[in-house]
């Protein structure tokens, strides 16, 4: 007679549990295969990181040239959260076979997107808060949310889940940034002339972004 407790599995026996018995409700409906392979995802992550890093640096520069106190202090938190976004994107890169030193790699998809970033950074004078915030928060950040969400839907849901998780976190915070800036811009644009400035600036940056193919260089950019 065996010393094993009653019900214990014996050598050569199958387990008594039904396959997936505890896990088939609800069923895992996710399917393998996404739009991008490892290499393509790594390139996209570098593109995303390029945008987040530069947005963080641009807003850092603006702190000194924005006169509105609530904008100065509000940007402080957005800067930190954009830096965190760039940081977690960077930390994904070694996991995508880019090497351990790749954590601070950023890459613009093309010259045109680098030009978009330069244009977003261009407004400098104290009187141009509307132009500063519009380029950043009415155009660039909403575009990133759109691309990040599309990426989350289209990438391999199981194999690339770490990318989905980090983008999910970034999107959640970026939506907050956009909502904050919308409130600020709605207040700042209190005349028709100022509202026109906002519309004009938005059109201008959006046009450049469209020509660049967005943050990845291959994206359709929505018209509004």
């Amino acid at each position: 007679m065996s010393d094993a407790p009653s019900g214990a599995q014996q050598p050569g026996e199958r387990t008594t549990f039904e396959p997936y018995s505890a896990f088939d409700i609800p069923a895992d409906l996710r399917e393998l295969h996404g739009r991008w392979d490892v290499e393509a995802t790594a390139r996209r992550v570098r593109n995303f990181r390029y945008a987040e890093e530069w947005m963080m640096m641009i807003m850092g520069g603006w702190l000194a040239t924005v006169p509105e106190l609530p904008v100065k202090t509000g940007l402080g938190k957005v800067i930190w959260e954009s830096a965190q976004a760039a940081d977690i994107l960077g930390r994904r890169l070694p996991e995508l076979r880019c090497g351990r030193k790749s954590v601070d790699s950023s890459e613009s998809p093309n010259d045109a997107f680098a030009a978009v970033i330069r244009d977003v950074a261009a407004p400098e004078q104290a009187a141009l808060t509307i132009e500063k915030l519009t380029g950043m928060f009415d155009v660039l950040k909403p575009h990133l949310v759109e691309v990040y969400e599309w990426t989350m839907r289209e990438t391999d849901q199981i194999a690339d889940a770490p990318t989905i998780e980090l983008l999910d976190e970034i999107v959640r915070k970026t939506r907050r940034h956009i909502a904050w800036a919308k409130e600020v811009l709605d207040r700042l644009c209190d005349t028709d002339a100022k509202r026109d400035r906002r519309v004009k600036r938005k059109k201008q940056v959006l046009q450049m972004l469209r020509e660049a193919g967005g943050v990845t260089g291959e994206q359709d950019v929505a018209s509004d």
Binding site: E53, M56, M57, I58, M59, G60, G61, W62, L63, A64, T65, V66, P67, E68, L69, K72, T73, G74, L75, G76, K77, I79, W80, S82, A83, Q84, D87, G90, V103, D104, A121, A122, P123, E124, A126
Partner: protein
């Protein structure tokens, strides 16, 4: 957007009035001689008169002339003193604008040095959020003390003094000079809050002080990193920090001297990474300048002249 801006380009809303930076830094260059101090301030009188217009400092100028800066700021925050409310508001407003310049300095470090290591950018980005919260905290504390934003003129000498074009010198100036000064001032504020039983102020400033220690550590780490294998650059960074420390000592008002208005917060600074050697050096650098007794004598001379001038003007008008 260009890199490296001048301190005069710092953008402010219409509540703020700018003061000439020399008004904040002159004490550090003066000898321990009442007449010399009085003469120097006398020469600055027109600048003072101009900068206080439309601010809460205007009545102080009316009463004390240009000596009000000495009278109001170079005495400790003593809860029993009749002028303590004014001194407290002046101190709070000074800290508030100082935090704003620290925020701008940290932000410019992100923009001015795009090729800096990623960890440096992370530290500066974090500092941006911290300084932004400090601005918000001191705006509330200023109101808590009965003050308001823009009630006194703002000097941008903190930004001017420490925003160097070399990142090693920038962090030596901002993160070790300016943030080190913040450690001293905030420890003094906590002591004041303890004396007056102001728990709100004590707790808020204690949190801010904790952040400042972190910022000094950033500075200590990055001065070391930027200057490793480059002793000449390290020497320049240390020399620059000494220069900034000298300016930020306000002629001994912040020092180890017995009559210091703001003592050096040695324990906090040590926790932040300052060495015993550096603290001894700071003690020596900051101890120069007119004593509080000398400043009181100079203020008396200036007030007397101011009143005589007023009386003369009044007579002439009649």
């Amino acid at each position: 957007m260009k890199r490296f801006i001048h301190h005069s380009e710092l953008a402010r809303d219409r509540r703020f009035i700018r003061a000439e930076n020399i008004l904040a830094t002159i004490l550090g260059s003066l000898p321990d001689d009442a007449d010399a101090v009085a003469e120097a301030f006398e020469r600055l009188d027109p600048l003072v008169a101009e900068s206080v217009k439309g601010t809460a400092a205007e009545p102080l100028y009316e009463e004390f002339g240009c000596a009000f800066g000495i009278v109001a700021t170079n005495e400790p925050l003593d809860p029993g003193s009749p002028a303590v409310e004014t001194r407290l508001k002046l101190r709070m407003h000074g800290i508030f604008v100082g935090e704003m310049q620290a925020l701008e300095g940290a932000g410019r470090s992100l923009w001015d040095f795009p090729d800096a290591p990623w960890e440096f950018k992370m530290n500066m980005a974090r500092q941006c959020w911290d300084e932004a919260r400090h601005v918000q905290i001191y705006e509330k504390l200023l109101e808590h003390c009965g003050g308001y934003v823009g009630m006194f003129p703002e000097s941008t000498f903190l930004f001017e003094a420490c925003c160097h074009e070399d990142p090693a010198l920038r962090v030596a100036g901002v993160n070790r000079g300016l943030e080190g000064l913040a450690c001293d001032v905030f420890r003094d504020m906590i002591k004041f809050a303890e004396k007056t039983g102001d728990e709100k102020m004590k707790q808020a400033v204690d949190y801010v002080l904790a952040d400042e220690l972190t910022h000094v550590r950033f500075g200590s780490d990055w001065v070391r990193e930027f200057t490793k294998d480059d002793p000449e650059r390290y020497k320049r960074a240390q020399d620059y920090r000494r220069e900034v420390d000298k300016q930020f000592s306000f002629g001994g008002a912040r020092s180890d001297r017995e009559d210091a208005v703001i003592p050096i917060a040695r324990a906090d600074r040590k926790e932040a990474g300052f060495t015993d050697e550096e603290l001894e050096e700071l003690s020596q650098i900051s101890s120069g300048g007119p004593s509080r007794k000398t400043l009181a004598q100079a203020a008396a001379i200036l007030i007397e002249r101011h009143k005589a001038r007023r009386a003369g003007n009044q007579q002439a008008a009649e």
